[in-house]
Structure formats: structure tokens, C-alpha cells
């Protein structure tokens, strides 16, 4: 398992259920991480910096070799979409749980992906299909496309190297800065242009494909609620989906997969504009963070499918016998402060208490006492709520969030509660500008300040009252030192 955090735990769960022994890898910062505690074996990689640990291909391959691993699951992030890593696995005789390296390479370059998809007849966003560095040609292309245009990095995603340009006068400067950002982020400054769509929705389709040429989509996920181009709430079905649109977009997703020779699980992302027209955006060639909501409505285990497909088995179902039921929502619980621009908030988890009960799933990578490292992605856990319909799923999620206590780092829990309670969300008005439109400068309404002060005072009084006692975390359970007395030894 070439990853850490909640996704490493989630993948290992299915492995254990299938009787597959697991090997974790870990950095210095993760000696006590939850994924290390769960694995059948664990191999130390090195210093906390990703380049010395989870991003270090040689070390990861060597960990696999030394433990006799037969396959590597890359999770998401880190090496998951690195074609060199997939290629290396292929060379070393390790099964890479994902598509072949040439598919990753082809779809990883956004302009190559656009060419591949355009050839299959699926609509792509108007724009360029090759990267360009000549400022004159770029300016001409921008004029052809028509402002506003979007400058994008050919080599990557996550919002890096991306610029929205509304007028020709800002264009040249924006190209230079986008290219240099792309160069820093991906070691590749190549950029290209797309038409900028105002207030689109982000709708993606989960696909699974086997080596025998079968491709099935597992319906859509709506992922429009984003901050800094990163999803924070996902749901399925999409509030705008009709059976007819689902049929067309699903077929397009399958066509994209077939055109690219796709194998294993992947996600075809689309933008849907205000008129309900959809455009191919990109393919994520990995298990997606938000895959659990698809599992909730289909009853399938996508990691199990990945492992079955990787071992050469055909998909155990056809498009016709995959059925969706109910509604599922995922909230990502990051270590970040929603009152301070969603700035990261690493630190020690002093106490946590996760919601449980009907329709609740919690994919969690932390525990009380764990020190959340500063070096990695801020995702702590994913809370998933399933219910019969969207309204019930929203209500269930709100209650579950209220029961989710994490002390020691800040989390977006109070922000998520307010988003889910909002009328805009209830109406399904979920466009990618949702947070900027409805929640810019958000602060929670702090109605219980008196109660919070009362809690502070009572806590302090309880501590002072017990200060004369010999020892112990005051207010907590008595320690062995209090109850047992001194040892004979």
C-alpha cells in the first residue's frame, strides 16, 4: 500500500476481507500512524518529506520487493497518477492496481486527453488541443475562443498553473505567471487554453473496466462544492441529473474509457453548463477520494473490483445489472480552519469522537493522540451519509456532523453544517462558485458562548478541586497510580 491516511486504511480493509496480506510503508512522521497499526507488515521509508518517503519510487519498490509483495495499490495523490511509477511496477513484475502506465501518461497530459476524447465524439470544452509557448499564437487562440478564457497547465491539475483571463490586456502576464507556476508544480511549464465556463457544475462518472474490454459506469457524482479548486462536499445522484442526461453522460464516460484503452477504476470528469450541456474535463486515473458515495448507492466495493480486475478477472456485472438506490453525501474532514480561509491546521488530535449509526460511514485515518503531520495532505477522514432520498441524506449528514468532535486541530465541521443547512444547497444550486457566492467570509453563529464559558469554568473548577490529589488527568478516569497504590517491585 503505497500511501498513508484514510485511503491506506480503506484499501487495507478490503484486502484483509479478501485474505490478502498487506504491507504498509511509512515515513518518520508516521511511525504511529493508523495505517501502520493496521497493516500485516510495515516498512520504514525515511524522512517525512514526500520526496524521501511516499514519493520516492525506489524506496517504495524496494519495500515491495523486500516483503515479497505481489501488487501495489497507490491510493490517491503521491504516486497514484505517476506513469513512471506504474511503468516501474510493470518492469519489476509488480501488479499496479490501476490502469497501464501508457494510459496514465496519455490521460495525464490534458491536451493529449482532449485529443483522445475529441476523437471519440464526446464533447470537449472549446479550446486548444496542444500546448503552446508562443505568446502571439496564444493571444490569437484566445481571441478565437473568445474571452473569458482559462489558461491551464498541460501536465497537471489541482488548480496549479490555472488562470482565468477576462480581457486581452491581462493575457500575456497571466500566461507567464501560469507557466512559471506550472513549471514549479509539475516541472513542466506547458500551458494551453480553454473557454472559461461561468458557474458550471462539476459532475463526474465512476467507471470500471476489465482487461477483456468491458467498461461499465457506476453513475455520477456531483462535486461542485469546492474551495481552492478542491472538493469538500460530494453527492450522488447529482441534483440536476435526469435519466436521459445520465444515459448520455454515462455513455460518454464509457466512450472516453474505451477510446483511451482504460483498465481498472477511474473517473471521467465533466463540466455541465447552465444550459445543461456537458463537456469532457479530464480523467482521473485512480481511485477517487469520493468513491464511497458510489459504493453506498450501488452496494459495490470498488476496491474489490480494482483487485479483481487487476488479477485478470472480468467485471462481475454488466451495465444493466448495476443499480443505484437512495442518496449519498460525503463531507471531507480536513485539518483546516474555515474561519481563516481554510488555512491548514496541523497538530495533535487531543480528542476525537466520530458519529456512528444508521446510514453513517466514517473512513478515518486518525485517532485520539495522533500527531497530524505538517508534510502531507490535510485530509483526516471522510464522513459519508446514506439515506433513502436527498433530503433525508442531508438531515442525516447534519446530525452526524454535529456529533463529530475533533479537538486539537481545526476542521471545517461547523462550515459544512452551515452549507448543508443552507437553502441554496437544499435547492441543489451547487455550482463551482457556490462557496464564493454564498459563504464568502463565513463565520459560525456563536450562540452558545455562555455555555462555552460555563464549560471552561466548570472544567477549571474540577481541576482545581482535584489538584490536591496525588496525580491524574483531572476529571478523567482515575489512573492506575490512584487506584493501585505503589508496586512492590
Amino acid at each position: 500500500m503505497a500511501n498513508r491516511g484514510e485511503i491506506a486504511l480503506r484499501v487495507m480493509s478490503t484486502c484483509r476481507e479478501m485474505g490478502i496480506a498487506t504491507v504498509a510503508v511509512y515515513s518518520e512522521a508516521d511511525r504511529k500512524a493508523a495505517h501502520v497499526l493496521k497493516a500485516d507488515q510495515a516498512v520504514f521509508l525515511g524522512d517525512p518529506e514526500p520526496a524521501e518517503s511516499y514519493l520516492n519510487i525506489d524506496k517504495v519498490i524496494s519495500a515491495a520487493k523486500q516483503t515479497g509483495a505481489e501488487a501495489i495499490h497507490p491510493g490517491y495523490g503521491f504516486l497514484a497518477e505517476n506513469p513512471l511509477f506504474a511503468e516501474r511496477c510493470e518492469q519489476e513484475g509488480l501488479a499496479f492496481i490501476g490502469p497501464p502506465s501508457d494510459v496514465i501518461r496519455k490521460l495525464g497530459d490534458k491536451t493529449v486527453a482532449r485529443r483522445t476524447v475529441a476523437g471519440s465524439g464526446v464533447p470537449v470544452i472549446p479550446g486548444m488541443n496542444r500546448p503552446e509557448s508562443d505568446p502571439g499564437i496564444l493571444a490569437q487562440e484566445a481571441a478565437n475562443i473568445g474571452y473569458p478564457v482559462l489558461i491551464k497547465a498541460a501536465a497537471g491539475g489541482g488548480g496549479k498553473g490555472m488562470r482565468i483571463v477576462t480581457s486581452p490586456k491581462d493575457f500575456d502576464e497571466a500566461c507567464v505567471s501560469a507557466s512559471s507556476e506550472a513549471q514549479r508544480a509539475f516541472s513542466d511549464g506547458a500551458i494551453y487554453l480553454e473557454k472559461y465556463l461561468a458557474r458550471p457544475r462539476h459532475v463526474e462518472f465512476q467507471i470500471v473496466a476489465d482487461i477483456h474490454g468491458h467498461v461499465v459506469h457506476l453513475f455520477e457524482r456531483e462535486c461542485s462544492i469546492q474551495r481552492r479548486h478542491q472538493k469538500i462536499i460530494e453527492e450522488t445522484p447529482s441534483p440536476i441529473m435526469t435519466p436521459e442526461l445520465r444515459e448520455r453522460m454515462g455513455s460518454a464516460a464509457v466512450a472516453v474509457a474505451k477510446a483511451s484503452g482504460y483498465v481498472n477504476a477511474g473517473t471521467v470528469e465533466f463540466l455541465v453548463d447552465q444550459e445543461g450541456k456537458f463537456y469532457f474535463l479530464e480523467v482521473n486515473t485512480r481511485l477517487q477520494v469520493e468513491h464511497p458515495i458510489t459504493e453506498m448507492i450501488t452496494g459495490l466495493d470498488i476496491v474489490r473490483i480494482q483487485l479483481e480486475v487487476a488479477s485478470g478477472n472480468p467485471l462481475p456485472f454488466t451495465q444493466e445489472n448495476v443499480r443505484s438506490r437512495g442518496h449519498a453525501i460525503e463531507c471531507r474532514i480536513y485539518a483546516e480552519d474555515p474561519e481563516k480561509g481554510f488555512y491548514p491546521s496541523p497538530g495533535k488530535i487531543i480528542y476525537m469522537q466520530a458519529p456512528t449509526g444508521p446510514g453513517i460511514r466514517n473512513d478515518c485515518g486518525i485517532y485520539s493522540g495522533f500527531q497530524v503531520p505538517v508534510e502531507y495532505d490535510p485530509i483526516l477522514s471522510k464522513l459519508i451519509a446514506y439515506a433513502e432520498d436527498r433530503d433525508q441524506a442531508i438531515s442525516r449528514m447534519i446530525q452526524a456532523l454535529k456529533d463529530y468532535v475533533i479537538l486539537g486541530v481545526r476542521t471545517p465541521v461547523p462550515f459544512l453544517i452551515d452549507v448543508l443547512k443552507s437553502e441554496a444547497f437544499a435547492r441543489g444550486d451547487t455550482f463551482t462558485d457556490f462557496i464564493d457566492t454564498h459563504f464568502a467570509g463565513w463565520k459560525p453563529s456563536r450562540r452558545d458562548a455562555d455555555a462555552a464559558c460555563a464549560a471552561f469554568i466548570i472544567d477549571e473548577m474540577s481541576r482545581v478541586r482535584k489538584a490536591g490529589a496525588p496525580a491524574g488527568q483531572v476529571g478523567a478516569d482515575p489512573t492506575p497510580w490512584q487506584t493501585l497504590g505503589p508496586w512492590g517491585r
Binding site: R228, Y343, D377, R446, D450, A452, I457, I458
Partner: protein, 179 residues
């Protein structure tokens, strides 16, 4: 007993009276708050505030206590203790005049060297926390007197990463303010 508590920008004085083993009354301004409570664990209190129950989850973290009620965090400090401490101990609070990171982070790029003249707002250092880069800028024009960190260092809020001698003669390092 009296407590002066700081929540957000406000400082409120509470008069506290015990009403039994597990009950107190708090009064502030013209408000009276009846509180019954049960200690559920070292991090959880069950409170009945004027008849309405709720659960409060607490963690002390340095100077402040975070209390979570109905999913919402409240940051509470004892105003008296807080003052005593910050007076004697510089840097626990991030002071906007300093070049200091807003969260625990790792230094990824240093854009100035000692002796450089910088303008107000000029980028001087880039830190990264949980895969997000933040560029710290000069709080005022001046010359760089010292760079206190190296690339790869872990840094904390309040830690001064770069000292700048201000054009008006005041070092950002010497500038301090009571909170």
C-alpha cells in the same frame, strides 16, 4: 469566585456561585445562567443550561481552551492569566508586523538574503503546510538584517523567520505589543 474570560474579541466577567455538588450559577452583566453539570470524561461535560441540556467537549491547548458545542468551536482564554503570560513571553501570539507563518509549516523557499533592501509587501519567504504554499511578505520596507531559518526547517506561528530593519529605524523584531 470571579473569572474574566476572553472569547473572540470580548472579555466577559463572570461571577460564579456554587449551588451544590454539580450545579453553579454564573452571572455577567444582567444575565443569570443556571448550570447543572456532569463530568462525562476529561474532555466532555454534560451541561444543563437554564434547563436545556447540551454537551461541551474541551481541550486545553497552550494558553487557550477550545470548547466545542453543537459542532462549533469556541476559543476561550482566562483574560488575567493570558495577560500575565503574554506580557512576559513574546511571540506566542502572531504579530502582524513580523514575518511569521500563520500555521505550523515547513520553509520551502527563501527569497531574500541578509542586506537586501525590501519593499513593503515584497515576498520574502515561502512556507508550505499540508501541501499548501503560503508566501510571507515584508510587513514594511527596510533592509534584511537576519534570516533565521533554512529551507526544510519546521516553523511555528509566532516564530520570526526574517528580521527586517525598518526604513524608519525600528526593527520588526523589537516591535511588540501587548494583547
Amino acid at each position: 469566585m470571579q473569572y474574566r474570560l476572553k472569547t473572540g474579541e470580548n472579555v466577559i466577567s463572570f461571577q460564579v456561585e456554587k449551588k451544590g455538588d454539580y450545579a453553579v450559577t454564573l452571572s455577567h452583566d444582567n444575565c443569570l445562567v443556571d448550570v447543572e453539570y456532569a463530568v462525562i470524561s476529561g474532555h466532555c461535560l454534560h451541561l444543563v443550561i437554564n434547563g436545556t441540556p447540551l454537551n461541551a467537549y474541551l481541550a486545553r491547548d497552550g494558553d487557550a481552551t477550545t470548547v466545542i458545542i453543537r459542532g462549533i468551536p469556541y476559543s476561550i482564554q482566562d483574560a488575567d492569566i493570558h495577560n500575565t503570560r503574554t506580557r512576559g513571553k513574546k511571540g506566542l501570539q502572531a504579530i502582524p508586523q513580523d514575518v511569521t507563518p500563520p500555521m505550523p509549516a515547513v520553509v520551502v523557499r527563501i527569497l531574500v538574503t541578509v542586506g537586501d533592501n525590501v519593499k513593503h509587501g515584497q515576498s520574502v519567504i515561502v512556507v508550505e503546510s499540508m501541501k499548501m504554499e503560503t508566501t510571507l511578505t515584508a510587513p514594511s520596507g527596510g533592509s534584511v538584517r537576519a534570516v533565521n531559518v533554512a529551507v526544510g526547517d519546521k516553523v511555528m506561528p509566532g516564530q520570526i523567520l526574517v528580521d527586517i530593519d525598518r526604513d524608519d529605524g525600528v526593527s520588526t523584531k523589537e516591535e511588540s505589543q501587548p494583547v
